[in-house]
Symmetry: C2
Subunit: 207 residues, 2 copies
C-alpha cells in the first residue's frame, strides 16, 4: 500500500463528483463541474477533465465503459471504483484542507483606488455588483434544483454557504460605496486632475 503523494485536489474533486449518481461521461462531468465546483473551487477545462479521468483510470480509481449511443458513436462513461471510494475517504480524512484561497481582482483594484478617480472606482464596484447578482442567480438555480433531495444534502449545504457569501459580498460592497466620496460613476471623466500624492509617513510592514 505504498501511497505516492496525493493527487492534486482537482483530481479528488472530479472523483468526488462521481460519488453522486451514476456513470458520467467526461462531457457530463464538465457540466456538473460548471454548475457546482465552479462556485467554490474551479471549473476545470474540458481538456483537464479528460486528463484527470485518464489518470484516475490508470490508478484504478475509476472504471470506464464504452457505451454506444448511435451507430458510429461511442461515449466513455466513468464510475468510481471501490478502490477510488476508499482513496477518496482516505484523502478526506487524512489531508489538511488548508485555508481558502481568494483571488479577488476587484479588491485588488480597490486597494489601488488612489490611482483612479472616484467615479472610476464607483463604476468598477457597481459592475462587480451586477456580476455578483448574476452569479447569485446561477447558484440559486443550482440550489433549487437539488434542495430537499436527500441525495444532495451536502451539496445543498455548500450551495447555501455560497449564497450567504454572495450576500455578504453585496453588503460589503454597499459599505464601501457609502464610505467613498460622492460623485456618480457617470462623472467618471470629470476629475482626472493633479499628479500623484507626495506621500510621506513610513508605516512599514506591520510585523
Amino acid at each position: 500500500m505504498r501511497q505516492e503523494r496525493d493527487l492534486p485536489t482537482t483530481s479528488y474533486a472530479v472523483l468526488g463528483l462521481l460519488t453522486f449518481g451514476q456513470e458520467l461521461s467526461g462531457y457530463e462531468l464538465k457540466q456538473w463541474a460548471d454548475s457546482t465546483l465552479r462556485f467554490y473551487w474551479t471549473a476545470p477545462a474540458m481538456s483537464q477533465i479528460y486528463t484527470e479521468l485518464k489518470r484516475l483510470a490508470q490508478r484504478g480509481l475509476v472504471l470506464s465503459r464504452e457505451v454506444g449511443g448511435g451507430p458510429g458513436r461511442t461515449t466513455t462513461r466513468y464510475r468510481v471504483s471501490a478502490k477510488g471510494a476508499r482513496e477518496l475517504r482516505r484523502w478526506l480524512a487524512d489531508s489538511d484542507p488548508g485555508f481558502p484561497l481568494l483571488k479577488h481582482p476587484v479588491a485588488l483594484r480597490l486597494l489601488l483606488g488612489h490611482l483612479l478617480d472616484p467615479g472610476q472606482v464607483r463604476a468598477m464596484l457597481e459592475a462587480y455588483d451586477q456580476a455578483l447578482a448574476a452569479q447569485r442567480r446561477d447558484l440559486r438555480a443550482v440550489l433549487d434544483g437539488i434542495d430537499n433531495d436527500p441525495a444532495f444534502e451536502f451539496p445543498a449545504h455548500v450551495a447555501r454557504w455560497g449564497l450567504s457569501y454572495y450576500d455578504s459580498e453585496e453588503a460589503a460592497l454597499r459599505q464601501v460605496l457609502n464610505a467613498l466620496p460622492e460623485g456618480s460613476a457617470a462623472q467618471s471623466r470629470a476629475a482626472q486632475g493633479t499628479g500623484q500624492t507626495g506621500r510621506s509617513s513610513g508605516a512599514g510592514p506591520t510585523r
Copy 2:
C-alpha cells in the same frame, strides 16, 4: 489598444505596492505582500517577487537603485517610474477585473460529506473555524496599523471588506454546524462501527 498583452495580474499587484511609500527592496515587498495582498490575492513566493521586479525593470515600469547598507552589503531598492504609474493606471482603467476566484478546500470537502461520518465533518468545520479566527486576528492587526492614515484609505477599505468576509464565513459555518446532525466532533470515532472500512483501533496511520 491591447497590442502588447497585459502582464499577469500579480505583476501589477507588485507594481501597485510600490505606489504607496517609497523605494522598497524585494524583501520588503514580500513582507508587504504577506501582510496585505495575501488576504485577497496571493502572497507570491520570494523568488517570484524577484522575477517580477526584474521584468518590471526591464520594461521600465520600475527604477532600481543600489543602496549600500554596510561594508559588503548592498540592497537593491525599487520605485515606480512615471511610465510604470501610467501603465498601472491604464491597466486599472482598461482591463476587465473579472469575477473573484475562490478555492475553498473546506467547502469542497463538505460537498463530499456523505463519504464521512458526521463527527469528521464537524471536526473539519471546527478546525476551519479556528483557522478563520486566527486569520481574522491577523487582518485586524493590519487594519489597526493603517486605519486613520489617509495615505492608506483604500487599503483600509479593503481590509474592512476582508474582515466582513471572515465574519460572514464564521456565520455561515455556524449555520452549517446547526443543520448537521448532532454528534460532537469528539465522538468522531464512535460512529465508526457501521460497515465502513477497517482502520479500527487508531494505530495505523493511513499514509
